[in-house]
Amino acid sequence: MQSLADNLAHQPARGVRDRVLAQAPWGVALLVALVVHFVLGPVLGPYWSQVATQAAIAVMLAVSLNIVNGYTGQFSIGHAGFAAVGGFTGAAVSYYGALALWGGATKQEGFLVPGEWLMVGGSLLGAVLAAGLGYIVGLPALRLRGDYLAIVTLGFGEIVRVLLQISGPQLFEADDLRSSGFKQWFPPPLGGAQGFTGVPTYASLFWVGLFAALVCIVAYRIKFSSPGRALLSSREDEIAARAMGVNLARYKVRAFVLAAALAGLAGGLYAHTGVVMQPREAGFIKSFEIIIFVVLGGLGSISGVVLAAIGLTVLPEILRDPQRLIEAWGLLAAVGVLATVGGVAMRRSGSRWAPLAVGLGATALGLLAVALVASGANALMRSATGDPQANIGKYRMIFYSLMLIGAMLLRPQGLMGVREVWDHFRRARPAPGRPGGAAT
């Protein structure tokens, strides 16, 4: 991999300045979070802020799963199970903690109120629990070769789901909590099939932005580190990696535990977005949603996976009411054509920004295609049913699935393959013979 070699060229120096700079990612994550919360939030408005929150959580889940499925080439299909462990832990800590400390779980208004720190603590505890379970589950499975991990993780997710289903009823009042004894806490009061409700909605854009940025930075630094190369080598050729002295089982287990921890963290935040935490959050359908992000984005590519997670969260929401998209067709057509033409011209002149313009143009043209198809389908439905209000919004999941099929037929290696977005900006014209996006 070229990009890997490029990065290896930068050997770390030992100056004070470099040490300070080494801490820069924390600052970057904080900056991202602040910008997202105070600039993006007001611009988007309350509804799209909610979508953005869900997108950020999807990014965390996808990027963490990418460490297992993308870097090491293993196949985990129980990621939602780890997210649910973190989610229910975070929900319980936050809800019961608030009941015990403040007598009620109503949301405290303001920025960085005590309740939010309780959420962070609960989510981190969830991450630790998920990591512990990840170790127990991963250790035996990852010592073996083959598809054992898939089976084991599938079973794990289902176990979590069933355990949550038979958990005890939620305690709603502070008095119930105070008078509760062993009987109420075994099995733990996580709501059972009824689900866990009333968790205060502290997962603001600041927190999800901060943690999503941190997760991406962690994933990035691992990918281009020495353990990361060990992981990638195990994906490319296990025998060769072994021959080079890489302790495959150890690295795989470490990667798996880390991925489980990050998923637990994401789940903890998800519990604070105002959804009802139900046992089905641990089910394999949720796990597959995350796998789709990873495969569509490109196994191993962080930026590709991030783009896929955001796109696949936002797209169904746009399709909910395609009318606005249809009305904006002129805008889409103009941006699409101009940016694509401009991008091609820029590429010919060797500009490094050409891929940006082409990407923008392709996105706009793609949305235009969606708008045209939606408009045609609307017209067809209206003439067929005689209902002037008929809308294909109801059938949006068909569109969504068709788009997935199309994407996989046209780009089986995923959006980005194994490369990152910025790899495309390094050199406008790829050198002949440069490894493309062969994922395996």
Binding site: G45, Y47, T197, A328, G342, G343, A345
Partner: protein
Amino acid sequence: MLSRRWALSIVVAGLGLVAGAGGCEKKSEAPKGPAPAAKTPDSGSKAGTEAPKAGGAAADKAPPSGTGPILIGHYGSLTGSEATFGKSTSEGIRLAIKEFNAAGGLNGRMVEVKEYDTKGDAKEAKLAVERLVKSDGVVAVLGEVASGLSLAGGPVCQEAGVPMISPSSTNPRVTKIGDMIFRVCFIDPFQGFVGAKFARENLKAAKAAMLYDQKAPYSVGLAQEFKKAFEKLGGQVVAEQTYNGGDQDFTAQLTSIRGGKPDVIYVPGYYTDIGNIALQTRKLNISAPLLGGDGWDSEELGKIAGDAIKGSFYSNHYAPDQADAAVKDFIKRYQAEFNGKTPDGLAALGYDAACLLFDAMKRSKSLGGRDLRDAIAATRDFKGVTGSITIDENRDAKKGAVIVEMAGSPLGPKFRAQINP
């Protein structure tokens, strides 16, 4: 170098042009809508970043006034495994709106509904309601059928100060979300009691078995309430078995139930599973009747189970063959609108929820969230298709239930008993 600059300038010029066009578009739209607060949701042709803010502000502060259409929202499972619930409710709502508008609307203002699918998923339900109240700026929200989804959508309405009326969420916790959340159906404790009372008094059952969906909050809640009431009335629950919604094989649970020799089997699940359960019950030669709740209510049930479901009962909000002029009239109008389809209980509840909302709108001082809320809360003896509805202090509907039997040809629900609180 020159061509690079040329390319860049094309892009910049193009973007400028587009921005200009967008601006013009906006300007030319402005004079069309004299009542921006009410019109914003639909007239915003720009890419959806500005419209939400305006819509949200309209919902929060200035109550929509003027002459534009009044927008209400509906969120329901239009796809997914409980899709007929959302579709039936949606049809009931649309019939109510059509009739209300035909009768002149609210002082000449027409009502329009904005409808979003939840896929039966809690995250989707939350986002759908966010969109309705914060981006589209609806004055009130109708939905959801499933309690788990109402619990996800309700807090959004409560926070934004937009009244929400659930047509058919029976879990008691739904209206406990806050003072903006109402319902027009009875609640689970009552429905469990109705089932138990019918089993004890009409069927003279001494021993009951239960088989419920441990995945569905609705099913678990009903089973618990049934057991409580049945034992209180002197009955005995001899077997308690669970399944997971979507299971195909129930033989193990049913064999165990057969061992207890129950007089009646209480199966408070959703219609897709009930069909299979009924078929397998009869295959195992268990002759005890099945008894269920309003989750059975779908025309699909008869199609899936056929003769196996004949002679089984469920508690429901209304029966299509009830000897009631209002019900008969409603069915006639519904069938004229939707190609002769017989409305199920969910359609009737959707219709009632919408009609109750319109009634409150007429009495309300304004269409602001608070005023509308107070008007809904003041509803007394509202004559709906599913009975006379009085909103009590818990914002629940005080009303009776009916027990229907699956009978006749074509197989369908037939009225058997009316049970009042």
